[in-house]
């Protein structure tokens, strides 16, 4: 099994979840209110005040095959709006 970590702006959460549902992932977990900095050195803060929104960290445990299916969709969202996606190995307990 793989573990896919996606980190991107909360505003794109719906778009990403739709992408995940399209390939029928077995499940996902979302953690909001993440903050951070990306390669363009823009610091995203949890600035609810202005409504700009913080980052979301989405974790998906699934098969490689599903990841291959959604790769293009996810990349297209992240390349336009920013964010990162990394895959690692994971074994069910």
């Amino acid at each position: 099994m793989k573990r896919l970590d996606l980190i991107f702006s909360e505003r794109e959460l719906d778009a990403i979840l739709i992408t995940l549902e399209k390939v029928n992932v077995p499940g996902y977990t979302v953690m909001k209110h993440a903050t951070g900095r990306g390669p363009e050195r823009v610091v995203t803060e949890d600035d609810e005040f202005t409504g700009l929104g913080a980052n979301a960290h989405v974790i998906v445990f699934c098969e490689q095959e599903l990841i291959d299916k959604m790769r293009d969709d996810i990349r297209s969202v992240l390349s336009y709006y920013g964010g990162v996606a990394y895959i690692s190995e994971a074994t069910p307990l």
């Binding site: 505003r11 609810e48 005040f49 202005t50 409504g51 700009l52 929104g53 336009y80 709006y81």
Partner: protein
């Protein structure tokens, strides 16, 4: 003690709380108002100002020529200001940034408006409830102008998914949470005052009226913290933008006062009109722009409106505009 307006504005509790928020950041105090408490106060203020405005509009009777003209002029100003701003900003910035910043200045800041109301009350001026209508009406048009500017002036190679549809432009303009709450509360105030019982309004007052000033102070404490935190990124943005954040409001105030004179508003309403023109949005517009024009750098439009224009208006602008009004309005 009798003080001149500028001085007396600085010693009003809301401004003082704003200033200690600023000082907290400058002295590196760890004072902070954690999320979502500021949101509680901002929701509360929008709800209360809308509700009160709705009641006053109903009580004063809206179908009056001057009222309609004023509201029309308000909308017009919120269409013209971003256009002017856009052409000024294009000197230094690309289409996306120019449109986003310009839209912010066309729209309004409810807290600046509230502060102006408090200032008027403390100075003994009268003003009318329907000006809250102007406040509500000026939030959206500037967003529309901003998005249209992007739609027509932007390079043609934006990714397809990003094509702006009129539907989504309207959605962003009118259904933004803070616009919606202000408009909704306005309608509720109006309806309650028309069809509801007098008792219901009385029972709302401790919440919407009595508490208002204190909640305003608490919120301005947070605004002071947030504004001061924005200053460093404004310095990075360069002197052109810093100048814009000061002179654009003054220019807009000047236009505003001329229009107010043309409309024969009395001093109180004139000041509110001017403040609407001079203030810039750090809530509805940034949220809309970040969503629909991600190419614009959010730090530009946030740090100018929140880090400089807002403090300037709160502390110096309002008494300045008052003296302008007193000069130009007979």
């Amino acid at each position: 003690m009798e003080l001149n307006p500028l001085f007396s504005n600085i010693f009003a509790p809301p401004v003082l709380f704003f200033l200690i928020g600023v000082i907290a950041v400058f002295t590196k105090s760890d004072l902070e108002i954690p999320a979502p408490l500021p949101k509680l106060f901002s929701l509360y203020l929008l709800l209360a100002i809308g509700f009160k405005g709705g009641i006053e509009i109903q009580e004063s009777g809206i179908l009056n020529n001057q009222v309609l003209l004023t509201l029309g002029a308000a909308i017009l100003m919120s269409l013209i200001i971003p256009l002017i701003g856009f052409f000024v900003l294009r000197i230094k910035f690309n289409v996306f940034n120019s449109a986003a910043i310009a839209a912010a200045y066309g729209s309004i800041s409810a807290v600046t408006f509230i502060s102006a109301e408090s200032f008027l009350t403390s100075q003994g001026y009268q003003f009318d409830g329907y000006m809250v209508g102007a406040l509500a009406l000026m939030e959206s048009p500037a967003i529309i102008v901003g998005l249209l500017l992007v739609k027509f002036a932007a390079p043609k190679d934006r990714p397809n998914s990003r094509k702006l549809h009129f539907r989504s432009i309207l959605h962003e303009s009118f259904l933004n949470g803070s616009v919606f709450l202000l408009l909704g509360s306005l309608v509720i105030g109006f309806l309650t005052s028309s069809f509801g019982t007098e008792a219901a309004i009385e029972k709302m007052k401790p919440f919407t009226h009595s508490l208002f000033y204190g909640a305003e102070c608490f919120f301005l404490l947070d605004m002071g913290i947030v504004a001061a935190q924005r200053l460093p990124s404004l310095k990075k943005a360069g002197s052109f933008l810093i100048g814009f954040a000061i002179f654009m409001p003054i220019f807009n105030a000047f236009m505003g006062v001329l229009v107010a004179r043309f409309l024969s508003l009395d001093s109180g309403n004139a000041l509110l009109f001017v403040v609407l023109c001079a203030s810039a949005s750090y809530l509805a517009v940034p949220a809309a722009m970040r969503m629909t024009v991600p190419e614009a750098r959010s730090s530009y439009y946030i740090s100018t409106t929140l880090g400089l224009t807002f403090p300037f208006n709160i502390v110096l602008g309002i008494p300045l505009y008052m003296s302008l009004v007193n000069k130009i309005i007979p």
